[in-house]
């Protein structure tokens, strides 16, 4: 279907289907427990790695599905919208975002779910995020070429390492499975330590 490629995302159909996708997004985040900022930040104190488990499972599920459908010719992966890799602003953005995540207790999507669960701190976080967005808009004219500063023209990791997309998705699966085992070990170790 790919509404983006047909420039139809802004039509009533596109807006409605996006609302529908959002319903699923919010539902799964809440089911995972991500309407709770203490649950989200517990990973940074090594008590609960649900953030890693949920994010990695979701990423791997979608990556395998995309590569499979792409290989079968059901979808054209090249026609999808993907954020352009621009390394330096994404590194700086990631650092700022991480500070905001642990201090504020939310990220934008989970804050929406937190607000829907009645959390006033999520509302305050969202107000802050709006202010931060506007601050960037004020700053942007002074950033010069920084927003286009990349180390080289690199798109995806499989391209980078000269392997196919499906191989890249399988490597991601292997890394995720390793991370799940490691995270569970750390959780068990922390639980034993807290009992002692």
């Amino acid at each position: 279907m790919n509404l983006f490629a047909q420039d139809l995302l802004g039509t009533p159909l596109g807006l409605l289907l996006s609302l529908f996708v959002g319903l699923g997004f919010g539902f799964w985040l809440e089911r995972a427990g991500f309407g709770s900022s203490r649950k989200l930040t517990a990973i940074f104190y090594l008590h609960d790695f649900a953030v890693l488990k949920v994010m990695f499972s979701a990423m791997v599920t979608a990556a395998l599905g995309l590569q499979l459908f792409g290989a079968l010719g059901y979808i054209d992966l090249a026609a999808l919208y993907v954020p352009e890799s621009v390394i330096w602003p994404q590194l700086v953005g990631g650092l700022l975002f991480g500070l905001g995540f642990v201090a504020g207790g939310w990220c934008p999507g989970t804050a929406a779910v937190g607000l829907a669960s009645g959390k006033l701190d999520a509302l305050v976080f969202l107000l802050g995020a709006g202010v931060g967005s506007l601050a960037f808009a004020g700053l942007q004219p002074h950033l010069g070429d920084f927003m286009h500063a990349s180390v080289c023209s690199i798109g995806s990791l499989p391209q980078q390492f000269g392997v196919s997309g499906p191989i890249g998705a399988l490597v991601l699966l292997a890394v995720a499975l390793g991370a799940f085992v490691g995270a569970t070990k750390v959780e068990q170790w922390m639980a034993r330590r807290n009992q002692a």
């Binding site: 490629a5 500070l99 905001g100 701190d121 967005s133 004219p141």
Partner: protein, 168 residues
């Protein structure tokens, strides 16, 4: 009666199928920060229209009428509604300020505001947040998405000991 959260792997697979559906139907992944930016721009426009229209970053939002008639805005509304349906169904809708046992509401809300501002600023530097960059870009194996995710977790782990009182 509050029901327990679902198994993280099961919830993750559900979330991944939603992301896959989004890519197939919409041709793009999930996003949350973009909707927030547009709502903020719309609110700022109501107060200071000329300043917003004169800004290079924001003026494009107003080129085709309202900045709110955009797929990421309706997706954010959907996220709120989906979160509410799930929370209500599980008996988890409760008005309050979530914080650690020794943290005051004032501390929690102050850090929520500062944290929100940093996250909002960072998301615009990175052109996306945990949904648009980490999840959606990660599923397409984008190099910049993994740089963003790595930097995000590194910074959060580094700051975590200093804000421990807020949570633990």
């Amino acid at each position: 009666m509050t029901r327990p959260f679902w198994n993280p792997y099961a919830a993750g697979i559900g979330l991944g199928l939603t992301l896959l559906f989004s890519y197939i139907v919409l041709g793009t992944g999930l996003g949350a920060s973009g909707g927030i930016t547009r709502i903020a721009a719309s609110a700022a426009h109501a107060v200071a229209p000329s300043a917003v229209e004169g800004n290079d970053y924001l003026n494009g939002y107003f080129a085709n009428g309202s900045p709110l008639a955009y797929y990421l805005v309706t997706m954010l509304v959907g996220t709120l509604a989906g979160g509410f349906l799930s929370a209500y169904n599980a008996g988890r809708v409760q008005l309050g300020i979530e914080r650690g046992p020794t943290a005051s509401s004032g501390l929690r809300l102050t850090l929520a505001l500062i944290g929100g501002a940093l996250a909002g600023l960072g998301a615009r530097f990175a052109s996306g947040c945990t949904s648009g960059q980490a999840l959606s870009g990660g599923a397409m194996l984008q190099t910049g998405s993994f740089v963003f995710t790595g930097a995000c977790f590194a910074a959060a782990f580094a700051l975590a000991p200093l804000v421990k009182k807020e949570w633990q």
